[in-house]
Subunit: 141 residues, 2 copies
Amino acid sequence: MPVIDATALLRDASLRVTRPRVAVLSMVANHPHSDTDSIATAVRRELGSVSTQAVYDVLRALTDAGLVRRIEPAGSPARFETRVGDDHHHLVCRGCGGITDVRGAVGAAPCLDVRDSRGFTLERTEVTYWGTCPACRARTE
Amino acid sequence: MPVIDATALLRDASLRVTRPRVAVLSMVANHPHSDTDSIATAVRRELGSVSTQAVYDVLRALTDAGLVRRIEPAGSPARFETRVGDDHHHLVCRGCGGITDVRGAVGAAPCLDVRDSRGFTLERTEVTYWGTCPACRARTE
DNA sequence: CGCTAAACTTGACTAATTCCAGAAAAGCTG
DNA sequence: CAGCTTTTCTGGAATTAGTCAAGTTTAGCG
């Protein structure tokens, strides 16, 4: 299991270190692409009782601080991951909604330059690949 | 105003031609990126009274038939457009949620090939550019 | 140890979308 | 063009995801 020092990460981001925050951050680090509900369930299993609201608040705080990234493929509730800063993208299965990371290179990719940005200030480029995972393909064949 | 023959499009897709369908399809064609609510309002203005359910059903039928595409940027209700089949992508403003089309060339773009597709069958690649539109930038400066 | 702001709890609430069951309408079929 | 079948539409209730507000607790500083 990848061990992360959630406490140190929180401190570095000048966030208070609370039990719910540590539990949520560890959970997201160890189970990338979890949705809010799975995170809440896992955190409750660890700490006993944590309000849904707290989970939302914590995830918002972590997202704002840049410790986790929120990903939200169409048709699916929000999911979270800790891999921030590297240019990876997501492969989403239409069958089961599962998400897999794929390497990418946005900065280096000339075809992702927008020539006609119409005055927009570009901040981020998000690439989502839609397809069917091996398990779902097997099921429908 | 781009005139489309909604009736013919529906027939070609072997969908029954109903007044709500024609109205919804025309609305989407003339106002790309509309959300369900605006579509419902516009359709009601034209036909008098149409249930919300009918609008959802029609949009689903049109989407399944490939006549419209459903786009769903994070944090925004579903939106619809008729430009299907060409490789264009979307520029989404974080401030106002507005969507602008940008040309793209997925098929021709080498950097969008996924080398490590982990057995997935790839169906579509979706690129979303996040940024701030000129109007929103002006407002916050 | 005690203070204070930040974080957590509780519970009601909104928005978007779907489900359900019956009524109505479109379009074959003869 | 009358009747039958299939599909669509209506209205209301249910679900899901997430937010708001007010009061209580707690981390971290002195």
